[in-house]
Subunit: 531 residues, 2 copies
Amino acid sequence: MTDRRKSFYAWGYEGEGASDAEVKAFEAIVARRFGLGSFDVTPPPTPADIALRAPRVTVPASLATIVSTDHRDRLEHSYGKNWYDVARMFLRAVPSPPDAIAFPRDEADVVRVLGWCDEIGATVIPYGGGSSVVSGIEPPADAARVVTLDLRHLDRVLDVDRVSHAARIQAGVYGPALEAQLKPSGFTLRHYMQAYECSSLGGWIATRSGGHFVTLYTHIDDVVQSLRVVTPAGTLETRRLPGSGAGPAPDRLFIGSEGILGIITEAWVRIRPKPVFRTATSVRFKDYYTGADAVRDITQSGLYPANCRLLEASEASPTAAIDEPGAVLVLAFESADHPLDAWMKRALEICEHHGGTWDRTALGAADPQRQGAAGEWRDKFIRMPYFIEHLAARGVMATTVESAITWDRFKDFHAKVIDTGRRVMREVTGRDGSFTCRFTHLYPDGPAPYFSLQLPLDKPVMLRQYMEIKHALLDALVANGGTVTHHHAVGRVHRPYYDRERPELFAAALRAAKKALDPRGLLNPGVLIDP
Amino acid sequence: MTDRRKSFYAWGYEGEGASDAEVKAFEAIVARRFGLGSFDVTPPPTPADIALRAPRVTVPASLATIVSTDHRDRLEHSYGKNWYDVARMFLRAVPSPPDAIAFPRDEADVVRVLGWCDEIGATVIPYGGGSSVVSGIEPPADAARVVTLDLRHLDRVLDVDRVSHAARIQAGVYGPALEAQLKPSGFTLRHYMQAYECSSLGGWIATRSGGHFVTLYTHIDDVVQSLRVVTPAGTLETRRLPGSGAGPAPDRLFIGSEGILGIITEAWVRIRPKPVFRTATSVRFKDYYTGADAVRDITQSGLYPANCRLLEASEASPTAAIDEPGAVLVLAFESADHPLDAWMKRALEICEHHGGTWDRTALGAADPQRQGAAGEWRDKFIRMPYFIEHLAARGVMATTVESAITWDRFKDFHAKVIDTGRRVMREVTGRDGSFTCRFTHLYPDGPAPYFSLQLPLDKPVMLRQYMEIKHALLDALVANGGTVTHHHAVGRVHRPYYDRERPELFAAALRAAKKALDPRGLLNPGVLIDP
């Protein structure tokens, strides 16, 4: 990361986004998809374009080396990376930036910064990679003063236990640096997601992020062995155990706590040897529900594929029409221990039973995930965040909502959410957009459907239109029995729906637990619960 | 259960224990094992043998049909089923019985009983099957009045969702009645353990019980989809979801809460089709550590055996000598979907790599788990609880302690615990007992070792001797980095060690959560945390 600088207003690193040629090609696809002629393109903001209110804190000399009130630093930490965040940057609208950014070098610095914030009554926003899409790291407008605590320098793998397949890792490390440090040992965490490049281990844990594996080890929750957490009431460390039955699991209180209970500074996580056996293919189904039936049978079979992502055909390729029929299943098994022929054979029998078809010549190819429709989709998926800014510049909304639902309710749920999406896009803008579904993770008792939306908005009112559409969709998820988020956290955007989803008495218990650990309510107020 | 009555002083149902011939044979084995001649046998208690203090509550007329102050009912609910509990019954020592037992017929009754207890300031002890071995359902001596809330009549499977593989089940149902009700649907929960016959779904959830599967779905935690819980502050229900990332998992606060936060009345749990494919065998290793190395490789392979229990040879057969060398691995795969040849073949390759040997003719036999050394051990295991009373009557201690530890520390941990066990038995009694290890559950990052102890005590001081030995062992588990319990819960017996194991700030958070849900501290005081 040494010489790279993150964009202050959009995804990723400066100079690593889409090339002019890529943007042009992408623009043409979007124009064709929505039948548009040309676009009104807002130029990207520069730091000088955006005035910020003066910092409302005075950094004491003792913290001067690790706390910044630099204009660009404050800008960079003002928003997450959702389309709405980037769009506000293009509108040069940043009314509530943090007053200062702390960059602790170690856990003792974290304690010192918390102490200072407690002293001056500053709200503290724990910050990993800043990839939140739910305003989880956005300073609340009504806070008197705000210090964002950016953990990027706690970026080391401290210990690798080759016998137990576990590693002790500092929470601020981003995905690529984490894997680079594990690599010499032959191990990998294998927790990949779209935000992998600019998100951190601590952020994954605090938000219950979903990773590479579609079955079994779906959330980071499943690989946390123990945690270190700095709270305003003190520092705690859970015991390093493969399993336990001693009371409610302590780690589970902090996993998903989104910075309201404490700052995760370190974790022991379960790692695995790099896979050496792999088999993958793409299976076509006549429609999404037929594909879903096959996927359900695979998920309930005990075969545990590493990948089993079912995409609507219109999402499987960036050049597909918005209503292209059919579904594509990206199916893969991987292992560091044994060949997977028996596993794939049985999974394909299940697919065949549901009328699935696949290219029998491509099976077992060297790197089949990167070939065909699946490969095309994968490349698009990894680079997608870099295109958000070009959509925002053109007033084209792009967002996702994701959920989980039991299989018995899935078809009804899917139909209602899709219907809501199509209806609300038309109601709000008078236009049709694309609104597609894929499964990101799977459980024997149900899938995690992930809906992607693209739609040209009317630029002068695009923020309002975005919010109307987004909230109609979030409402549809929760009203139809799903969760408001399978792996994107709650933050501030999902709060009203989270409040409907979780039992009120659980919120009461969580509020009480927060009071015990953060008596003055410094940490991330408004996220998950009200003070 | 209709015509069967549970023993008030020992394990199981009246008239279903060991026959006189079985007891005689068992006695001979124990005598030979410890080089004893004859035993002083205390006769089992009758209810009339034990005087109880008068009930300190007056049952209101409105609750008369569901609240009992019957002498035998109170006796039956005074202790759990550990050797220590049964031994106290043989000593006719029951100084702190509950004052009344409530038998609610439905959730509304649970609410009414809680309301009454709140009114009269009675301590409430939630009670499932009463199989606690950690004094989890024992009235605290200092409580002013105690009402035990026995959920046995909440015993129905309410709904089976064949599509999502899930069932809605009342919490008071015992294992056999649960499976009997699921059977017509072709599904099973497959959550078996030694206490299966007299323990309940709600008890399993409240205590994080460990079940049938040695890998993957080890604890009941893994199959809970949602919960209904009655707390003094109101009733809550978590949303039925296959997965979620919305805040800290609400279910996880109640799973393992051991009755201190509320009464679990219902749960949706994940069920599975009855397995139709099975393959099993027993593998011999030259010593326990060699077997453990093989087991570690299997556990880290991604093969996920249903059974993979490694026993010391001296434990594998009831007729074995206390110091019989070697280890026996009971290895099994099962599936409702596919043949398991590839799975077993690879697991046996791993065993062979570590010098394991097995009977190649027995492989794949119809019901191989019930054959050979493994079968012998299994039969003993299932019937073992019925023998506790005969040991207690003879002053022979039998107990277990169980833990979990990462693989890198396992051998050292095992050696130290075994050493402590052997040393403390001799120190306390001047005699050698048997002290053996097996693995009950396995994780890629470590095993759950389970230690079984048998030792003749000196009857007049047997309770004190028992406690000295037990506490030395519990101390050894926690002092050497393990958990005080992998699946037997904390209750009151494990409390001092649990207090050392879990972070104090987690206890503070849990205490605050309890205060929010149980403001007057009615529920199970002294379990997990102090008021």
